[in-house]
């Protein structure tokens, strides 16, 4: 059964037709890389899936439930969809531990002790067990992004959406974040990531979706698609990034 399903989704910003009939079906355990030129609608697509943006036509379901931007719906959705942003969006006035514990305590109503156990386990998973009491500003970009991943994982999401989460990092810090993602993929978490890391998409991803001008232009098994693109647009795109 599909975990995330988009059916003929259209999205407009005013007159700007940004998503032009997206059909996409993602099953549990898949690692889907979304690639494409800047402005092709990749971020908008992710933001529609988690209810941050409204879409005008079509339908999106996550785990069988319809996605809308109604507050109450988004909050229910947040229980199954985690999101990691390009610029981390950690809460700067809280320690790393508090960042990870916040939503489990006030949204899932877990006890402090229980939330702390989860938080420590998640930070351990991303290799930052010793940073529990640090403030985000004391961490490197790569570490901050790993905290953001731990924060999302603490809500035990069914699917994790990642929007260019290594793009704001210095090159030497990209690897540590990708390694965490690879680990998550191995554990069977469903990942949907917008990325420019072609090697990662090919080696770790199970599927690649190429977006062009607001459409899913071409998609398929990651190794096959990247080594043997069918459309001229994808050939050009691969040529440009490699």
């Amino acid at each position: 059964m599909s975990l995330v399903n988009l059916h003929q989704v259209h999205k407009y910003y005013g007159d700007n037709h940004v998503l032009k009939g997206i059909d996409l079906d993602i099953k549990a355990g898949e690692v889907v890389s979304i690639i494409g030129k800047s402005g092709s609608g990749k971020s908008t697509l992710l933001r529609c899936i988690n209810g941050l943006e409204q879409y005008q036509e079509g339908g999106i379901t996550v785990d069988g439930k319809e996605v809308t931007t109604e507050d109450i719906q988004v909050r229910r959705l947040a229980l199954s969809v985690g999101m990691i942003f390009q610029n981390f969006n950690l809460f700067p006035h809280m320690t790393v531990g508090e960042n990870v514990m916040l939503a489990p305590t006030i949204v899932l109503k877990k006890s402090k002790a229980e939330a702390e156990t989860t938080a420590r386990a998640m930070l351990e998973k991303v290799g930052l067990a010793d940073k529990f009491d640090s403030f985000p500003e004391k961490l490197s970009g790569g570490q901050q992004q790993r905290v953001a991943i731990a924060r999302a994982l603490a809500m035990s999401p069914k699917v994790l959406l990642c929007d260019e989460i290594t793009s704001a990092l210095d090159p030497e810090l990209v690897g540590e974040v990708l390694k965490v993602l690879e680990q998550l993929a191995k554990e069977g978490i469903t990942l949907v990531l917008v990325t420019h890391e072609m090697n990662f998409a090919r080696d770790v991803g199970s599927r690649v979706v190429f977006m062009h001008q607001g459409k899913v232009w071409e998609q398929g098994d990651s190794k096959t698609l990247l080594s043997n693109p069918q459309t001229d647009e994808l050939k050009q795109f691969i040529g440009a990034v490699l």
Binding site: D71, V74, R75, A78, V81, F85, F91, H93, I106, V107
Partner: protein, 216 residues
């Protein structure tokens, strides 16, 4: 005519200063309370609420405080609501203070990245939870310095209450001047007292600003 010694003058001014401080405090507390409510209204995504706040701010920022005081005092009595000079002064200063604080705080909240709201939403926090746990703690840090800075305007604004007959520092200064005909001495003293009230607040505001900038 009664003779006023320097001691008498100073004693009277000091006594009046208490009323200036009290009126400032009342206006500041009232203004803060109203401004908090208005800020919450502005942050809801309800267009009607936001329009109310916008009109309120335009109205009370766009007219002289003195006119607001006149309207509160004379206007309300003409409409049949008896209001004391004290009540009218507090009411108009509260309106004035809140209109400015809402705008100051709006600026502070808007400097927080949109990503803070989005991350909270993606973690399942409600609007009020986001406000309480994420937005306010950060906004308060940014807002303290300009808010303390604005309190100086409130203190100076209380001087206008003398015009509707509220007996505070400026009013007593005027009365003493009428009795002694020593305007230079009297008003220098009055100005000095205002300065001693305001200057520490300005200094404190600057200190807070610096502290905040360093901690960023």
């Amino acid at each position: 005519m009664i003779e006023f010694s320097n001691y008498d003058i100073l004693r009277n001014l000091m006594f009046a200063t208490q009323w200036t401080i009290l009126l400032s405090l009342a206006a500041f507390i009232g203004g803060t309370t109203v401004a908090l409510t208005l800020t919450a209204m502005r942050l809801t995504r309800n267009p009607a609420m936001q329009r109310i706040v916008r009109v309120y701010v335009e109205l009370f920022q766009g007219t002289p405080l003195l006119m607001q005081m006149f309207l509160c005092f004379f206007g309300l009595s003409m409409l049949g609501y008896e209001i004391s000079a004290w009540g009218a002064a507090i009411l108009s200063l509260t309106l004035f203070t809140s209109a400015f604080l809402v705008e100051i705080w709006r600026g502070c909240i808007d400097t927080l990245p949109k990503g803070q709201w989005e991350a909270s939403r993606c973690l399942g926090l409600s609007f009020l939870q986001t406000l309480r746990h994420i937005i306010l703690p950060q906004a308060i840090r940014v807002a303290t310095a300009p808010t303390v800075g604005f309190s100086v305007q409130v203190i100076k604004g209380t001087a206008l209450a003398s015009v509707i007959g509220f007996v505070e520092l400026t009013k007593v200064g005027t009365m003493l001047n009428n009795a002694t005909f020593e305007p230079f001495k009297i008003f220098t003293l009055v100005a000095l007292i205002y300065f001693m009230l305001c200057y520490p607040l300005s200094l404190y505001s600057k200190h807070l600003e610096k502290k905040f900038n360093v901690s960023r």
